[in-house]
Symmetry: D2
Subunit: 390 residues, 4 copies
């Protein structure tokens, strides 16, 4: 019989639902060294948390995340709350000897992220593991892209072209939800979705973004107050409040390998729903991905004769592809939530093997530093700004 | 507290894994009137069945499907075995007052399918429900296509163009697995995947296929014996055996509304992995779908000025789309297995509401009759053959 | 100085405009052994023909095609009239020692086509050349597909999937133009566009279609009389006339190499404008083409590892691609009319070299026989009908 | 009889071939107020120019462009030489009362462009017309995009995402041709192809780019000397020379309407041949175009219910589309060279009507100023740099 690893999750909203599905499914599809048990979920409201526990399949409900740290049947803390709470909980959990998987962005500030990364390094020496949940790394097509770049298939990276395009706030009457308020969300499109393409670009290329030049914009400056934005009316007119985050962030930069990179994160790309796109052009080939067609990776082999070459649509559903063999026969596509299932699978395996899971808190910190450089450049006339530590 | 509905599954191979994931997930995403409990799985081998139960999340393992009928904690029988066993089990289960969801094809012969349909009609009078698991109906894009046709969006149906293209036996050295043996599988590409496009075409259009003209072919007549095909060597040379099913089936036909239809089911379409494709052209518009891009439905609105019109890629991930709202935000795609989750969701709701679930055993019988007409036409010089009961 | 070859064109409507552009352009892009001179165009109306000559760049206008045969400065007759006049003109021209390039379909009946093919064979012995203008063979992507099949890239052909989809008569109030009248047009979608996919399929595969099973339909039986359909009112009600040709033709068949083929020609595919599509699946690979994206050929190499493989979009604009090198740099696409320019280029070269141009009148006859087999099958309960001479 | 307008072309390389095809074809497809006559082509080498004249269809060959200005049968000067000669010739031609159509970029420096724009304004007062040949404006899909934006279909412009991706110098052994030398070419990817996307973005949106932040890079610093780069060896090692222009230019900027824009011009995008791409996201909809599929415009109508909406592939081949009606029936695509034909058609019409053709030399100057701002920003640490006169 395999040992059990108990999981305690903090938060049960969008991310909590996705992570729950991962914990619920992972053992049925992968041969894991440890059997995950969905021990408890923590939230503030006793009623809502109990309901969530029942709905999402957690055995217990706790109304204080600290209670999860006290439980001996919990070895993993899964952190699904907004970024402003990450540092406190994660650091405490690591100190308590719990492995931590933490939603992105790692934190809302570089300072917090640094503290977390320091805590993670210290914990690692005690065999306690920490991972930041950039789930898109575990989309099979993205993992395959990384593998092929690492194998040298595209040669030296010349260009990275990354976009994360959404359109859910195009309507100026869309209300001032918490994600549009700086004190709660940290930043707007930049931290929410820009963080994903920064990590994905660095992951696929195996390189770092060394500096950026940026523009940000808030197209709609005031929005109707949402129920959840009560108390903000001082900032706006009657019933309206001020949007305090960016609607869109564009930046260009240089990669550590000498290539150029272009990034765009926006919530104003009408018609684009969740278009996390990345194309990498190298000296020997190119790769292209669009999450709106998540089971496809496009590959151009530049070593072929030009009369033969072209972008090839690889359906990343073959047994030999990352993660895909655990699921269904070729051509039977996976969906969004599978990236989370793959994430917890890798986390469990790292814990069992005593190895460092990736992306680490240091990887999360690196993304945080890029976000900071973007904001600094945007505030300084788009001047090229070096990413700290790169 | 909601009442529990206990499920007993027969078979735990490919389909059993897919159905298990559906039963495991459905309650976390949909608000169901009954709470499904994964009571028991039945298989022949005690060891393998016990392993499957643990892996797939079933509380008990039974080594005889009849034991499931005896259990008072089982109200639903989920039939995931090959087609030759469907009639016996389904009819017994219905007689025992168990609701039955049965994998497709309903049976291997029209006679068996008729007996099953008769049993289902009788059971329905006692409030016992039966459903055949044509899962592709529950892909959100396919369900949306049906909805739009029903709303009159494409007008009168002129053309149906349906293909199910795979390529897993292109290699002549691929072994003689059971799916290539008529006594076990009934037919080849025709019954396995042709059945899906027949049902999908009839479902989306809301029409019946009234007659067909067909060609079938077996490109590779002999194949190496697989371990599982031992004992067949009399049929082939040393170590090879005869393929006794079709590799591909093509047929053209007439729809009950006056349109023309074209169908192709093949396992020899190199490079096409699971390309269940259907395009419907109507007097007011057209719809197109390809399962290899399962989150997309393409719609052409022919009532627009021609300078404005064009096929529109609708990402079927909006809250207002069938099933999609239960999952993730727009643009976050679903995968293959979700079709099964939607299937059991609808089945549970029908049971609770006391209504007839669809597709019914009669729908399954109708598909069986089309398959029979195809085989008859192919054997009779492609002569146009009327589908019985159409 | 290169010798001049004089061209006389008969007809100046749609095809005449396309051919004129070919004659006007070909010498500027290709290094030809003979310099084409646009000597004269023939038509019935003196005024309209003179206008066409001026507009399209012909030096003279003739009002009787026989006058072109008399001219010693004309060596090539370019036949752009409807099919019912082809036999008479082409046979006379060949007898007069003129090379003939004749629009498709070669004729409206098998009998006429046979007479033309006989005349062409006789003329060839005297060094007089004849060619039928299946222009789609000269789309670079189609020519490349043929080349790759001939090189064995896709191995044995298992499937041909050919469609020619248009939508210009979806509206039931579209008038009864001559193309919808059997006495003038011979047939409907079948001969007009079905002929193209039959030739393209046979050209790319290098095989013949040996037999077919067919369905045809006329969805709209009566249409408003067009000005040009005056006198037809006896056939319809007041102001309406009967459509006497097919609106759509579907057929399935067998190729000479043992593969199966599916064809669909229709003018009722709402939203499809000129979708001449063909996919060929072979034992070693597949090719796919859609004229609506005419500069692309999709190629799947089935000899690659399945984890690497996928359909590859080859932009057929490289210098090494058929015809493309004569035009623009890679990625600068060509259009519809270029297929005609390539056609006359090959024709001029064959004349100069004293070789037999392709497609020959025999190729045209072969297509005619397939059309006849389709009509015969459709009239005989879709019975499988062998193509004469195949 | 229509009056004749005589054309004299300077230069007969790539652009000269394209323009010749335009002059040769335009009168056959459009009903023009003036009949263009291809009077003479000018070049330096008597032999080569005579050959070009014969090949491309010009009646005369001149070995000095000044001779064209002297000819009374020439009313239009078509300038197809590299940018460094534009100012001298164009200004002289305008002074001589010749209408001028000038290839892009208007000039190699802002100063030259200013002098040309001044000359053009002065000439306009005398009824003499000048136009810069940004041919991509006349691709029907691009013209349609402009039309729809002008009609308000996409509302306020939020994002412009423009790329011009090529790959012809990815190979480090590709020689040091003149386009890679600053003294001859002015700049690299920036001026050659970046100029096109700047103009296209400003044209489609009807807005100006007001400021930019830029990065440029030369990935391959030295290349083998080409025959045409003899004498450069001092700059490199034995047989190699220094590349003195950019290989790629990335810039982000702000549009005059408040939107953000991203641009990328590169010759290092392996697998992208001539991918001039632009997407514009507005408050009411979006448009997307890729020249590699030049007959398509993608349109998302954001005013539709989100369950209905999606990017729609409009084949820009309808009679009601810009330019398209003059050519072939719907679905019969056009190619690269047609953009030039449309260009000279519009130029002839403007001359006849006495109106100002677009894009004007002022438009060309505006692009030149953007290029200058890009270079300035790139040289100044990517600082946001305002475009002069914007």
């Amino acid at each position: 019989m395999r040992p059990v690893v108990g999981v305690g999750m903090v938060g049960y909203a969008f991310m909590g639902r996705a992570h729950s599905q991962a914990w619920r499914s992972v053992d049925a599809f992968f041969d894991l060294p440890l059997r995950p048990a969905m021990v408890a979920v923590a939230g503030r409201s006793p009623e809502a948390t109990a309901q969530a526990a029942e709905k999402l399949g957690w055995a217990h409900a706790e109304t204080d995340w600290r209670r999860l740290l006290d439980r001996s049947d919990v070895q993993i803390i899964d952190l699904c709350t907004p970024g402003d709470s990450h540092a406190e909980i994660a650091i405490a959990a690591l100190a308590a000897g719990k492995h931590v998987i933490c939603e992105k962005p790692l934190a809302n500030t570089v300072e917090e992220a640094e503290a977390m990364a320091t805590a993670a390094r210290a914990a690692a020496e005690r065999g306690v593991r920490a991972m930041v949940a950039f789930n898109y790394r575990r989309v099979p097509a993205v993992a395959l892209a990384r593998q092929w770049v690492a194998e040298g298939r595209i040669g030296e990276v010349r260009h990275v072209r990354a976009q994360y395009l959404q359109d859910w706030i195009v309507d100026p009457e869309f209300p001032l939800v918490w994600r549009l308020q700086k004190d709660k969300a940290g930043s707007g499109a930049l931290g929410d979705i820009g963080a994903h393409i920064i990590d994905t670009a660095q992951f696929i290329t195996g390189e770092r973004l060394v500096g950026v030049s940026a523009l940000t914009e808030t197209f709609i400056k005031e929005r109707p107050l949402a129920e959840s934005s009560a108390g903000l009316s001082a900032g706006g007119g009657a019933g309206r409040g001020t949007v305090t985050v960016d609607d869109a962030a564009l930046f260009i930069g240089r990669m550590s390998g000498g290539g150029l990179a272009s990034f765009e994160a926006t919530r104003f790309a009408s018609g684009r729903k969740n278009a996390l796109r990345i194309e990498v052009n190298g000296s020997l080939g190119s790769l292209a991905f669009d999450f709106e067609s998540l089971n496809e990776l496009w590959f151009h082999d530049h070593t072929l004769d030009s009369a033969e070459a072209g972008f090839r649509r690889v359906l990343v559903t073959e047994g030999a592809h990352p993660y895909a063999g655990a699921w269904w026969p070729p051509g039977h596509g996976l969906g969004y939530e599978h990236s989370f299932t793959h994430e917890v699978k890798d986390f469990i395996e790292a814990i069992a093997a005593g190895t460092a899971p990736e992306p680490s808190f240091d990887d999360g910190l690196r993304v945080q530093r890029v976000l900071a450089a973007v904001e600094q450049s945007a505030a300084d006339n788009s001047r090229f700004t070096t990413v700290e530590g790169s």
